[in-house]
């Protein structure tokens, strides 16, 4: 069985205590709220998306806020750090890699963009906590598509599966 302590590493505890990019965004172009109905947690993500001269969409600014557990809050905080200044396409790739990692489907030995986010790899052994880690990423995805709300339980959600399979 996994060592759960591995999940509560210094970096996660630090981002939980001092979340980066926490609050509101003055010039938000995109916004979404994500809910985890299992625990009532919610996260809102605001984006300032603009097109550069080559018409590539870039994340100029990002902020989040909400009520959540340490895993969810640290995941959101580190997500904002990771995607700020990135193109939308790069951020979308990172979302897919993060979701794959959290569900144990990403081979971390192969080239990827996960970097420091690898501290969340341990949630794959805690099926009930996977949803906590991925909620911010689903919410970011929803914000890109200007979907009003994201949910880790929504029917169209790729993670909508019995918890044991999540």
């Amino acid at each position: 069985m996994a060592d759960y302590r591995a999940l509560y590493q210094e970096v996660i505890l630090d981002h939980n205590k001092k979340p980066r990019n926490y609050g509101t965004l003055e010039q938000a172009s995109h916004h979404a709220v994500g809910h985890n109905p299992l625990c009532g947690d919610h996260i809102s993500v605001a984006l300032d998306l603009s097109r550069d001269p080559e018409s590539v969409e870039c994340i100029n600014g990002i902020a989040f806020q909400g009520e959540s557990c340490a895993i969810c809050k640290a995941s959101a905080s580190m997500m904002t750090v990771a995607v700020k200044g990135k193109t939308r396409a790069d951020a979308e790739t990172l979302i897919q890699e993060f979701l794959a990692m959290a569900t144990g489907k990403l081979d971390l030995d192969r080239p990827n963009h996960i970097g420091r986010l690898a501290v969340f790899a341990g949630v794959r052994d805690l099926p009930t906590r996977v949803k906590c880690a991925i909620l911010p990423w689903h919410t970011l995805h929803a914000a890109f598509n200007s979907v009003a709300t994201a949910s880790t339980e929504a029917a169209q959600d790729p993670m909508h599966a019995p918890i044991g399979n999540a």
Partner: protein, 419 residues
């Protein structure tokens, strides 16, 4: 006086041999990640003693067939074991007659039966249904569905900061439109034991029937439905050391007879033609289809097991666990107990400052301690205390003082991680 009390407690504690009882539960020998399992999620589901497991094995290996049908040996054996189980449950809750005990799939199913069988027949537009803030979602949602269908209104009894129902407010909710009361006996989220007998008497004086959700009461207290004088009493088998998929609805015979069936099918009929179907008598009218025969028989064995220990002894031991845990937790900096009612049973809901309940749960699990974290299917209670969720330790008679110590030291390590 104190010395006498202490001596009494010491004697009663030694009379209750928790280690001998623990040996009856194979699952309690498990280790989680190298640590002995400390199972404190009994309000969600309790564990099963060997006697119940053995009864299930005996049924499946030598008694199983469908009931109420064939004349062969196995069908008669199974029917007789199933009806024996009904009588055991009748005695366990002190129902007047065995036909007042209906086997359901659980508390939720039992409440839905009353909603469909009684509510849809007798509750009309403009009528009012009284529920309490403490209710589990299973005693809220069915009534909301009914209210929406009929144009009825739900009125809600508030609670105070200790998690106790405000009885004056309850009484003030009654008027000439009040038709039904749904009431929890023991709160699953806070442990509050509600004064249901008094509340039932008040409702009856106004001609209003009362359903009691006893899911959290039956495992912890002696329950006498005749003494309570409730009209309906619902509970689940799997919180009572029995299997999942079985529960009981007790109802007064006259009320059950006046109700319409909930589910239609086999077993619940006397005769069927395409012109007219005559329904069976109670309890069969409400047991359409092949029931959970094995589970009902297992539940019968579970109440035999509990009765042999004695519900009074169980309540006393659990009271000692709760007092001991409360006393320690009360003095922990940064830990807040939710639910401080004067009359409580077996549940300790708490929050740890600066730590989300899910993190508390994951870190306690690392110490082998199983607690529930979340809203406990009682979101109105969470809203009342302005928290999204809590951690909940819920005790059973097979828990020990040492397990309370493991819980407390586990909470200390959670605080250390988040210090």
């Amino acid at each position: 006086m104190n010395a006498v009390l202490t001596a009494f407690h010491r004697r009663s504690a030694s009379a209750f041999d928790v280690e001998r009882i623990r040996a009856d539960f194979p699952i309690l020998q498990l280790e989680i990640d190298g640590k002995p399992l400390v199972y404190l999620d009994n309000a969600a589901s309790s564990q099963m003693p060997q006697a119940v497991i053995d009864r299930l094995v005996r049924y499946q290996t030598s008694e199983h067939a469908n009931i109420n049908r064939a004349v062969h040996y196995l069908s008669e054996t199974a029917t007789s074991a199933y009806e024996d189980a009904r009588r055991k449950l009748q005695r366990f809750i002190h129902a007047r007659e065995e036909r007042e005990v209906i086997f359901t799939s659980g508390t939720t199913d039992a409440i839905n039966l009353v909603m469909h069988g009684y509510g849809r027949k007798f509750i009309k537009a403009g009528d009012e249904i009284i529920l309490t803030t403490l209710e589990h979602h299973s005693n809220i949602v069915p009534w909301q569905m009914l209210a929406e269908e009929k144009g009825a209104t739900i009125r809600v009894v508030p609670i105070n900061d200790a998690g106790e129902l405000l009885i004056n407010d309850y009484e003030d909710l009654f008027n000439e439109r009040t038709r039904f009361v749904g009431l929890m006996h023991v709160s699953n989220a806070l442990g509050t034991v509600n004064p249901v007998k008094q509340m039932i008497a008040f409702a009856h004086a106004r001609g209003v029937p009362v359903l009691v959700d006893g899911a959290q009461a039956v495992p912890h207290l002696p329950v006498d439905v005749q003494d309570l004088d409730c009209d309906f009493y619902a509970f689940s088998g799997h919180k009572l050391c029995g299997p999942t998929g079985i529960g009981v609805l007790y109802g007064k015979a006259a009320l059950l007879e006046s109700m319409q069936p909930f589910k239609g099918g086999g077993d619940m009929i006397m005769s069927v033609s395409f012109e007219k179907t005559n329904y069976n008598t109670i309890p069969h009218k409400f047991e359409a289809g092949t029931p959970a025969i094995a589970a009902a028989i297992g539940l019968g064995a579970a109440v035999d097991y509990l009765s042999a220990i004695g519900m009074d002894a169980i309540a006393e031991h659990e009271g000692e666990l709760l007092d001991y845990a409360t006393e320690q937790m009360k003095h922990m900096t940064g830990v807040r107990i939710l639910g401080t009612a004067a009359n409580k049973a077996a549940v300790l809901s708490f929050t740890v400052d600066g730590v989300h309940p899910h993190d508390v749960g994951t870190l306690l699990n690392q110490e082998g301690v199983a607690v529930r974290t979340g809203h406990h299917c009682a979101q109105p209670v969470m809203q009342r205390f302005k928290v999204p969720a809590t951690s909940r330790a819920s005790f059973a008679f097979y828990n020990s003082m040492a397990e309370v110590d493991a819980l407390i030291s586990g909470i200390r390590s959670v605080q250390k991680v988040f210090a």
